[in-house]
C-alpha cells in the first residue's frame, strides 16, 4: 500500500492504494464517488470517463497509483454549484434514458467545450464518439451540445 494525494473535484484527497488497484474502482469503492461507471472495463465504452489534468480519460485503464499529485474532476465536481448549462440543455431535451452513459458523455463534451467553445457538429460527434449510448441514438445529446455552444 502506498499513500497517494491528489485533487478530486477541487479538494485534496489522500488514500492508500496498492499498485494493482484501478482508478475507477478506487473512486467508486474507496472514495465513494459514483458517477464514473464500469461498462466494458476495457476502455471502449466511455462510461468510466473522468477529467485528468484537463483531459477526458478512461479511469478503467489507469492505475490509481499513477494519479499521485494529479488533478481529477468527475461529474460531482462539475455540478458542485448546480447544473451546468450543458446539463440543463440535456435535461430540457430529455436527452438520456437510462443515464448510464451520461456522466462520461457530459465530461467528454465539457472537455471539448473548454478547448473549443464553438465546435462544429463533426467536432461534437468526434468528442463523444467514444461514449457509447444504447438508448438515445445520440441525436438529442448532439443537439444539446450544439445549443449551448452556439449560445456562448
Amino acid at each position: 500500500m502506498k499513500k497517494i494525494s491528489f485533487t478530486l473535484n477541487g479538494e485534496l484527497r489522500q488514500v492508500d492504494v496498492a499498485p494493482n488497484e484501478i482508478l475507477l474502482e478506487v473512486l467508486r469503492y474507496k472514495i465513494g464517488v459514483k458517477s464514473p461507471k464500469c461498462g466494458c472495463d476495457t476502455g471502449d465504452c466511455g462510461a468510466c470517463t473522468v477529467i485528468l489534468n484537463g483531459k477526458a480519460v478512461r479511469s478503467c485503464l489507469i492505475f490509481a497509483i499513477e494519479i499521485n499529485g494529479q488533478e481529477i474532476v468527475t461529474l460531482e465536481g462539475l455540478s458542485k454549484d448546480g447544473l451546468t448549462p450543458l446539463q440543463k440543455a440535456l435535461l430540457d431535451r430529455n436527452a438520456f434514458q437510462c443515464g448510464y452513459c451520461a456522466p462520461g458523455m457530459i465530461l467528454s463534451a465539457t472537455c471539448l467545450m473548454s478547448g473549443n467553445p464553438h465546435p462544429s457538429e463533426e467536432e461534437i460527434k468526434e468528442s463523444i464518439a467514444g461514449n457509447l449510448c444504447r438508448c438515445t441514438g445520440y441525436q438529442p445529446v448532439i443537439d444539446a451540445i450544439s445549443e449551448v455552444t452556439k449560445k456562448h
Binding site: 502506498k2 496498492a18 499498485p19 494493482n20 488497484e21 484501478i22 474502482e25 472495463d41 476495457t42 476502455g43 471502449d44 465504452c45 466511455g46 470517463t49 485528468l52 483531459k55 477526458a56 480519460v57 478512461r58 478503467c60 485503464l61 489507469i62 492505475f63 497509483i65 499513477e66 499521485n68 462520461g104 467528454s108 472537455c111 471539448l112 468526434e126 468528442s127 463523444i128 464518439a129 467514444g130 461514449n131 457509447l132
Partner: protein, 289 residues
C-alpha cells in the same frame, strides 16, 4: 475488474534510474506510459509483471522535435499530441491522419505512439505510417543505445525486438528530402472505439517511388516490396494502381476473427489500397515542398 495479482510500482525521476530498474528486473518489469493496452493486458492476465516502471516523470521523452534531419517522437508522446503537432502534419501527415483514427479522444489523450508499437498488436494504427516513412526505433539500456529499423521491429503478433533490459526512448522519422504525400486508410465497424480490421498506408514520392504497408492482415504489419517494385518499374497511374490491387491477394494473409472474415478483409484491403493511392496522388499534386 480487479487485477488478480500483485506487483510493485516505481516512478523513476531520471532515465538512468529507469534503466537501472530494467537492468535489475529484466523481463519481470514492464514499462508504463499511457497504460491503455497494459491495464487490459494485466486484467486479462496476458502479462504478469512483478514491477511497473512508470516513465511519465521523464519529461525528456514527452517531446516532438526535429533533430538531425529526422522527426523525433518521444516515448511519452500521445496520439492527442500527434494530432495537435504542426511538425507531424508537415513532415509525416500520414501519422497525423492515422492518429485521428485511434480509438476515441479519451484513449488518444493517454495512449502513446511508442506504446502502440511496443504492444505491437497486429491491428495497431502507428505501424503502417512508420513503415512507409522508414522510421527507426531507438532503444536504451545500461549497455547503451540501439537503433532498429521499424521494418525489423515487429517479430510476431505482440512481439518486438525490444530486449528484456531495454526501453524504447523514441522513434525517429527521416525527413524526406523531396516532395511527398501519404495516405492512411482504416477499416472499422464504427468510429470511437474500434480497432482496425485492416489498414493500409502509402507514401508517394515526387521521383515516382512509392511505399506501401499493410496492417492487421497478417501476424505483423509489413511493407510490400512486390508492389513497390511494380510501381518503380511501371510508374504510378490509375491503370497501374488497378493492376497493383490485383497483386494484393498473393501478398497479405488475413484471418477470420470476431471483427471480420478473411474474405471481407481481403476485399476491403484492395478497396482501401486503391483509395489510399488515389488520395496520395491527389495530395502530391497539391504539395508545395
Amino acid at each position: 475488474m480487479a487485477i488478480p495479482f500483485e506487483f510493485g510500482y516505481e516512478k523513476p525521476a531520471t532515465i538512468a534510474d529507469a534503466l537501472h530498474l530494467l537492468d535489475k528486473w529484466g523481463r519481470n518489469a514492464r514499462i508504463l506510459a499511457g497504460g491503455t493496452d497494459l491495464a487490459n493486458e494485466l486484467k486479462q492476465g496476458f502479462r504478469v509483471p512483478e514491477l511497473l516502471v512508470d516513465i511519465k516523470g521523464l519529461d525528456a521523452l514527452e517531446k516532438i522535435k526535429v533533430l538531425d534531419d529526422a522527426l523525433h517522437i518521444g516515448a511519452l508522446v500521445t496520439f492527442d499530441m500527434v494530432r495537435n503537432s504542426q511538425l507531424v502534419r508537415d513532415h509525416a501527415y500520414i501519422l497525423y491522419e492515422a492518429a485521428g483514427l485511434v480509438a476515441s479522444s479519451g484513449v488518444r489523450n493517454r495512449a502513446t505512439v511508442v506504446g502502440n508499437i511496443c504492444s505491437a498488436v497486429a491491428c495497431m494504427d502507428s505501424a503502417a505510417p512508420l513503415l512507409v516513412h522508414d522510421a527507426v526505433v531507438h532503444t536504451a539500456s545500461l549497455e547503451g543505445e540501439r537503433e532498429v529499423p521499424v521494418q525489423d521491429w515487429f517479430v510476431d503478433n505482440r512481439k518486438t525486438l525490444v530486449g528484456e533490459k531495454e526501453m524504447v526512448s523514441h522513434v525517429s522519422i527521416p525527413l524526406p528530402k523531396i516532395k511527398h504525400a501519404g495516405a492512411y486508410q482504416k477499416m472499422m465497424r464504427y468510429t470511437g472505439e474500434d480497432l482496425a480490421a485492416a489498414n493500409v498506408g502509402v507514401l508517394l514520392m515526387e521521383d515516382g517511388a512509392c511505399r506501401v504497408a499493410f496492417g492487421s492482415v497478417g501476424p505483423i504489419p509489413r511493407r510490400s516490396p512486390e508492389i513497390e517494385l511494380f510501381f518503380e518499374k511501371n510508374g504510378v497511374n490509375a491503370r497501374h494502381i488497378d493492376q497493383a490491387k490485383d497483386m494484393i491477394g498473393g501478398i497479405i494473409s488475413p484471418i477470420t476473427d470476431v471483427r471480420a472474415t478473411k474474405e471481407y478483409r481481403m476485399h476491403m484491403t484492395k478497396v482501401m489500397f486503391v483509395r489510399a493511392m488515389h488520395a496520395a496522388v491527389e495530395r502530391l499534386k497539391k504539395q508545395k515542398i
